[in-house]
Amino acid sequence: MCGIFGVMDKRRQMMDGSGIRQALSIMNERGSGEGAGYAAYGIYPDYRDCYALHVFLDNACESKAVVDATLEQWGAIEHDEAIPTYDQPNLRAPCTPWRYFFRPDPSLAPGSATPEKDVITNLVMQINRASNGAEVFSSGKNVGVFKAGGAGSWPEAVADYYRIEDYEGYIWLAHNRYATNNPGRWERPDPFNLHDWSVVENGKITTYGTNRRYVESFGYTCSNFTDSEVITYLIDLLVRRHGLDINLAIRALAPPYWEDIDQMPKTEQDLNRALRFAYGSATMNGPFTIVAANPDMMVGFTDRGKLRPMVVGECGDCLYISSEEAAIRAMEPNVESIMMPAAGEPVIGRVAP
């Protein structure tokens, strides 16, 4: 049981982090106070063309030297600094959050349609799979993840530790963790991010093994061992590398039952059968609600039995996806509509072009 929340302004109007802090903390009974995190799009306008790498460093000396050296191999560091933090009475920081604004060298991924993202993917995997005291936990352009774990990591404490009200973004995701394992690891709580995509999950997929073996056969390395990690890689694989529209990617991850496919008109049936044929190993089972975002959209979807809650709200230009209606109302008391999509019915919100 975790609490998740996402909000998107489709006209890219900026919201500071105070609202989502409020929304997430209203769901504190869904968490255990041992992990929380936020992701925000649009927060680094001054470095909009650089990939913002957020890294947890075990220490700012040896671990940082490893990251510096790796980044210099793959491109150029435009700027780097410690992420500003503010001590909280009950939150113990075992690591130093650092950020780099980085320009990958596209010539290092020859032949790729998205060379910069391939370089970023490679270097994130390279740093994270080694035991070098460094974990890259966010790596997109103009996006950043802020998270913490361990005792005292309630949503308010984590928000205040990073002072997320100082950041302004047009999409925010947040996660209130109910820890089941490795509560002390700061990289464990959601959101999980890989360049464009950030993911928060409430759930526990029963197909982790199948899904991990599948994405790893395409060169991804799962080193965080969380659902959201494998889900992020699946979405990146299906959307960026296989070119599926997001709605088809979601269909592949949480497909209709065969008995429903059998009833569809022929062309639709063919498409859905082919999706299950091609992506059977990507299909996720078990209870989950997922909210994912990239710079252009925010999506929410559940397992096909909808074993975990998902509530959708709309108000003006804003779309909200949440575990609980109360959280939406905490952020926007005048919310205009509240919906509870049926199992297997995804919610896709796109930013106006």
């Binding site: 089941t180 526990k204 029963t206 197909t207 982790y208 093994g209 199948t210 991990r212 073996r213 599948y214 790893e216 056969s217 395409f218 296989h242 599926l244 529209d245 088809l248 039952y257 065969w258 008995e259 062309t267 063919d270 498409l271 059968r273 082919a274 999706l275 299950r276 044929f277 091609a278 059977g280 190993s281 299909t283 996720m284 089972n285 078990g286 209870p287 096909r304 039995g305 074993l307």
Partner: protein
């Protein structure tokens, strides 16, 4: 006397409780091996002929018959076991290769029994199959690795990728290849009806397709083996799929031999060989001396059947199974069948059956891993066979990477077979592994087909429950999901090969 060995100690001893016996003579009628005969007012017993097929016990109305295995002790010895000594006496007498029926009797640990399945508790809820769907439907054949899509004039997305033909099975349990000749027509008809009833498929074996099976041909996988018995275009066109047999788990690396006595008129017509002639399948296919030749054969068969049917290839599980499977996956084949070293047989040299090959659990795991590593997993489905004994074995095989399984011995047992291992004698009193008309008649397809269908149905229910308990509602989510297995008392090397964690981890 041509030897000084005398007679061997009795393997079985049959006794009759004379107080219970009412001398109805059903034992005499039922025993095709001639254990019982009447002499005056007594029923006499010749235990030496007994195979422990239990037919007499099963049909004795008074439970008067009792059977004991190995009533005579040898001096116990850990190295010179009874089996090794008896094999030596046998070969000293005959100078021949020892033949044996059914699967390996080597007393080696069974890996399936050391793999424990997972179930959900509180962090994830189990799925209740009574309330929510759990999908066992499986498609066997090539799957695209990615899709080509196009937008039609209405703006809808349509599929541009052409899907290869797949076999759709409603449950991942199929009936394996046992030929007409090795088993009776009634046994084949019983299984074919069961396959039809349960939405699965059945293999013909390499004995051709008897006309009596034509009504079930859309449920038959026709086999092309090295002897090419019964193969012509009509045969290929009748099958739902075609399977090229390259090897067999019970006897990897060697061919097959159906003795002339078993080649009756009907078997002769079905196999397309002269009556009474030995049917010898060579060890290799004489048109396959390299992997590129396999590819030509596969494409020839596909060309002949207009690319409408999936073509499977079956190999025995041996040391380099992973490499073999990866090679076969590149040959236009749609599914690879891997037969483990415990796989059954009508007759195989004992030394092969008990010593050559590797366990199916390991073969499937390493094949699945290699295919994924090489990006070939969607090119072929994997079918595991060779000692699948119960529904839990099916679930474990799929979690190790298989798409579906074939069962053989289990299906025979459902028809009455007691796994006595004397199939090669052709005297099966259950009417299964025999061509003698009076024995074949004992197996009523109306009855036996129901029993086989019951078995598949029961396993399907159990698989559904096991998946539901593990919170998995579709079979493709179980496939290769080794995180849902744990190894109990398996060594680290084996766990590594299986890619399974130990219990408690």
């Amino acid at each position: 006397m041509s030897n000084n060995l005398g007679s061997m100690p009795l393997r079985y001893r049959v006794t009759i409780d004379r107080e219970q016996c009412m001398e109805c003579e059903r034992c005499i009628e039922n025993c095709s091996y001639g254990v019982f005969r009447r002499d005056g007012d007594r029923i006499l017993i010749n235990s030496r002929k007994c195979t422990a097929c239990h037919r007499c016990l099963a049909y004795c109305p008074r439970d008067a018959i009792m059977l004991e295995e190995q009533p005579c002790d040898y001096r116990s010895h850990p190295v010179w076991t009874r089996a090794t000594r008896e094999a030596i006496y046998n070969q000293a007498r005959t100078g021949k290769i020892i033949l044996a029926g059914m699967g390996s009797v080597a007393n080696l640990p069974i890996i399936f029994d050391h793999l424990m399945l997972d179930a959900c508790q509180v962090t994830t809820p189990p799925t209740d199959p009574l309330r929510e769907p759990v999908e066992l439907r499986t498609y066997l054949g090539k799957k695209p690795s990615r899709l080509d899509l196009r937008r039609n004039p209405d703006g809808d997305i349509e599929l541009a990728t052409e899907l290869a033909p797949n076999l759709m099975v409603e449950t991942p349990v199929m009936l394996g290849h046992m030929s007409y000749g090795a088993i009776s027509l009634n046994a084949q008809i019983s299984m074919a009806r069961a396959a039809k009833e349960t939405g699965t498929f059945m293999g013909t074996g390499e004995g051709g397709l008897h006309a009596g099976l034509y009504p079930y041909q859309d449920r038959m996988i026709v086999q092309v083996a090295s002897g090419r018995f019964g193969v012509n275009i009509d045969y290929l066109e009748r099958g739902a799929a075609i399977e090229i047999k390259l090897g067999q788990g019970a006897k990897p690396g060697i061919g097959g031999h159906l003795t002339g006595e078993k080649v009756s008129k009907d078997v002769s017509r079905t196999r397309m060989i002269p009556q009474g002639s030995d049917a010898i399948s060579p060890a290799p296919h004489h048109d396959i001396y390299g992997i590129e030749d396999l590819s030509q054969l596969v494409r020839s068969i596909k060309e002949a059947t207009e690319w409408k049917k999936p073509v499977f290839a079956k190999i025995a599980a041996v040391n380099n199974t992973a490499e073999n499977v990866a090679a076969v996956a590149r040959s236009s084949v749609d599914a690879v069948v891997i037969d483990g070293f415990r796989g059954g047989t009508g007759a195989a040299p004992r030394v092969f059956r008990d010593h050559v090959g590797i366990p199916i659990e390991v073969a499937v795991a390493s094949a699945d891993r290699e295919l994924r590593k090489q990006g070939l997993r969607n090119e072929v489905s994997l079918i595991a066979c060779g000692s699948i004994r119960e529904s839990a074995d099916v679930v474990k095989a799929i979690a190790l990477g298989a798409d579906a399984v074939y069962i053989g011995t289990a299906a025979l047992a459902a028809m009455g077979c007691r796994v006595c291992g004397n199939c090669y004698q052709g005297l099966c009193p259950w009417g299964i592994a025999t061509q003698r008309p009076d024995l074949v008649e004992r197996l009523d397809p109306d009855v036996a087909s129901k029993q086989v269908a019951n078995l598949i149905h029961a396993w399907t229910l159990e698989i559904t429950e096991l998946m539901g308990a593990a919170g998995i509602n579709s079979i493709e989510s179980l496939r290769g999901n080794r995180d849902r297995l744990r190894g109990y008392m398996l060594d680290e090397g084996l766990l590594d090969v299986l890619d399974v964690k130990p219990v408690g981890a």
